[in-house]
C-alpha cells in the first residue's frame, strides 16, 4: 500500500513536472514536487524504503531534467535518508513538522546538487542562494498545503511509522 501510494505520488510529480516543463518553464525554478513526495514518504521512518524511493524518484526526475543522469537521484536519496533517519527516532507529525522537514530537505537537496555540479562540471550555479531561498519557500508552502489536504481527505497519517532500528 505504501509503495502504491508512492507510485501514484511519483506519477503526479512527473505529471506536474511535465506540465510545468510544457506550459510554465520557469515554474520549476521555484518548486520541486519530487522533494515533497520523498519527504512525505520518508516521514514514515522506513530508512531502507526511503533510500529506494529517493533513488527511483531522483532517476525519474533525472530522465527529464538536470545536467547529468543520477544528480537528482543522489541528492534526493540523501534527503530521503536524512528525513527517514530523523523520523525513525523522533515522532514528527502534523503539518508544521512536515513543513520543517520539507524546508530542510529542499535546502539539503539544493546544496548537494550545488556541490555535485561543482565537483563534476567544475561550474558554479548562478544565483544559487536566491534560487534556493525561493525554491525552499514555495516548495515548503505548497508541500504543507498538499500535506494538509491529504490529511483532511485521507483522514490518516500519510505513511505509518515503522520504527525500524537504524544503523546510526
Amino acid at each position: 500500500m505504501r509503495w502504491l501510494r508512492f507510485a501514484i505520488g511519483l506519477l503526479i510529480a512527473l505529471t506536474l513536472h511535465s506540465v510545468f516543463d510544457s506550459f510554465f518553464p520557469n515554474a520549476l525554478a521555484f518548486f520541486n514536487p519530487y522533494v515533497i513526495l520523498i519527504v512525505y514518504y520518508s516521514m514514515g521512518g522506513n530508512v531502507f524504503g526511503a533510500i529506494f524511493a529517493g533513488v527511483i524518484a531522483g532517476l525519474v526526475q533525472d530522465a527529464y531534467s538536470g545536467p547529468f543522469f543520477g544528480l537528482h537521484a543522489f541528492s534526493l536519496t540523501v534527503c530521503a535518508y536524512t528525513v527517514a533517519s530523523i523520523n525513525s527516532r523522533l515522532v514528527l507529525r502534523g503539518t508544521l513538522a512536515f513543513g520543517a522537514c520539507l524546508v530542510g530537505a529542499v535546502i539539503v537537496n539544493e546544496m548537494v546538487i550545488y556541490v555535485l555540479v561543482n565537483i563534476l562540471l567544475k561550474q558554479k550555479i548562478e544565483m544559487f542562494e536566491q534560487g534556493m531561498i525561493v525554491k525552499t519557500l514555495f516548495t515548503g508552502l505548497f508541500g504543507m498545503l498538499v500535506y494538509q489536504l491529504l490529511t483532511l481527505f485521507l483522514r490518516e497519517e500519510p505513511i505509518e511509522a515503522t520504527r525500524r532500528p537504524s544503523g546510526w
Partner: protein, 285 residues
C-alpha cells in the same frame, strides 16, 4: 548473500553509501556521455518507461489549447456572424430604400416630362388615400388650395386621365376618378375622331355613350379627352375600347378599360385648366 541480507537491514548507512557510490559512478558516466549528446542505456530505459506521462500531458495540453482556441475562434465567428447579419439587414434596408428612391425618381422624371407637354400651369401632388372599393371612387391628394389647386382641375399621370378635383382644403384635395358612377368625360376616338361621353360604371371600368351605331369603333381604339366639357384639356388618353356591341337603339354599347391603373397611383399632376365662367356656362341664347 545470507551475510549481506543480514547486514543490510541493520546497516542502512552502508546501503546508503553503496547506493550513493553507484549513483556517483552513473553521474560520472553520464557527465561524460552528455558532452557528445548521447544518453546512457539506463537513462534511456527510465525515459522510455515513464514516457507515457509527458506524452499524455503534452497531448492533453495540446488538445486543451486547441479546444480553447477553437472556442475562441467559434466565439469570434459567432460575433462576426451576428455583425454580418446586422450589416446584411442594414444593407438590405438601404437597398430597398435605394430601389424605392430609384423608382420614385423614375416616376417623377416621367411625370415631369409628361407635364411639360401641357401649356397650362400644373402642380405635382402625392396620392395619400385611394378609395376604389366604395361606390364613390375617389382619391385624396396631399396638396390643396395653397398649391393653387381648384375644384374641377384635371388630374392626370403619365398613363392618362385620373379624374377631376371635386373638393379642396388648404392642404388637401379630393379627386373623383373617371371610373366613378357619377363621372362623365367628353371624349373622342383617337383613330376616327368620333366624339362621345365616357361615364364610369362604378365597378372599375367605364362605358362610352353617344356613339352612333354606324360609327367606326373597334376594340383596341384609344379614347382621348375631347376638350369640350370645360374641365379636361384635349388629347389626354382616358381609356382603351375593350368591347363593341350593337345597341338596342341608335347607339352602340361600348365598354372601355381606363389607361390608368388606379391601384398603383402615387404621384399625379394637377392641371389648372381654364374654367368656363359661370355666366357663360349658364347663358341661354
Amino acid at each position: 548473500m545470507a551475510v549481506t541480507a543480514d547486514v543490510i537491514p541493520r546497516r542502512p548507512t552502508l546501503l546508503l553509501i553503496v547506493v550513493l557510490g553507484l549513483l556517483f559512478v552513473l553521474m560520472s558516466l553520464s557527465s561524460r556521455t552528455r558532452v557528445g549528446e548521447t544518453r546512457t542505456m539506463f537513462e534511456r530505459t527510465v525515459m522510455t518507461l515513464f514516457s507515457p506521462v509527458p506524452k499524455a500531458v503534452n497531448w492533453i495540453g495540446r488538445n486543451t489549447a486547441d479546444m480553447y482556441h477553437g472556442y475562441l475562434d467559434m466565439r469570434r465567428a459567432v460575433n462576426e456572424n451576428l455583425e454580418l447579419h446586422r450589416k446584411v439587414g442594414q444593407l438590405t434596408t438601404e437597398n430597398i430604400q435605394l430601389r424605392q428612391s430609384e423608382g420614385d425618381l423614375s416616376r417623377v422624371r416621367s411625370l415631369l416630362a409628361y407635364s411639360e407637354q401641357f401649356s397650362i400651369p400644373t402642380a405635382m401632388a402625392q396620392a395619400i388615400m385611394l378609395d376604389t372599393s366604395s361606390r364613390f371612387k375617389s382619391m385624396v391628394l396631399d396638396r390643396g388650395s395653397n398649391a393653387g389647386i381648384e375644384v374641377n382641375d384635371a388630374v392626370v399621370n403619365a398613363n392618362g386621365l385620373i379624374g377631376r378635383v371635386v373638393l379642396t382644403t388648404k392642404d388637401m384635395a379630393k379627386v373623383q376618378i373617371v371610373t366613378d358612377g357619377n363621372s362623365a368625360v367628353g371624349v373622342l376616338i383617337e383613330r376616327s375622331r368620333r366624339q362621345g361621353v365616357l361615364r364610369g360604371d362604378g365597378a372599375g371600368g367605364a362605358q362610352l355613350y353617344d356613339i352612333s351605331s354606324n360609327a367606326d369603333v373597334v376594340e383596341g381604339d384609344v379614347v382621348l379627352t375631347a376638350g369640350i366639357d370645360g374641365i379636361y384639356p384635349k388629347g389626354i388618353p382616358v381609356a382603351i375600347v375593350t368591347k363593341v356591341e350593337k345597341g338596342a337603339d341608335l347607339f352602340k354599347n361600348i365598354g372601355t378599360k381606363p389607361t390608368v391603373d388606379f391601384g398603383s397611383i402615387e404621384e399625379v399632376i394637377v392641371l389648372h385648366t381654364r374654367k368656363v365662367p359661370g355666366e357663360v356656362a349658364r347663358y341661354v341664347p
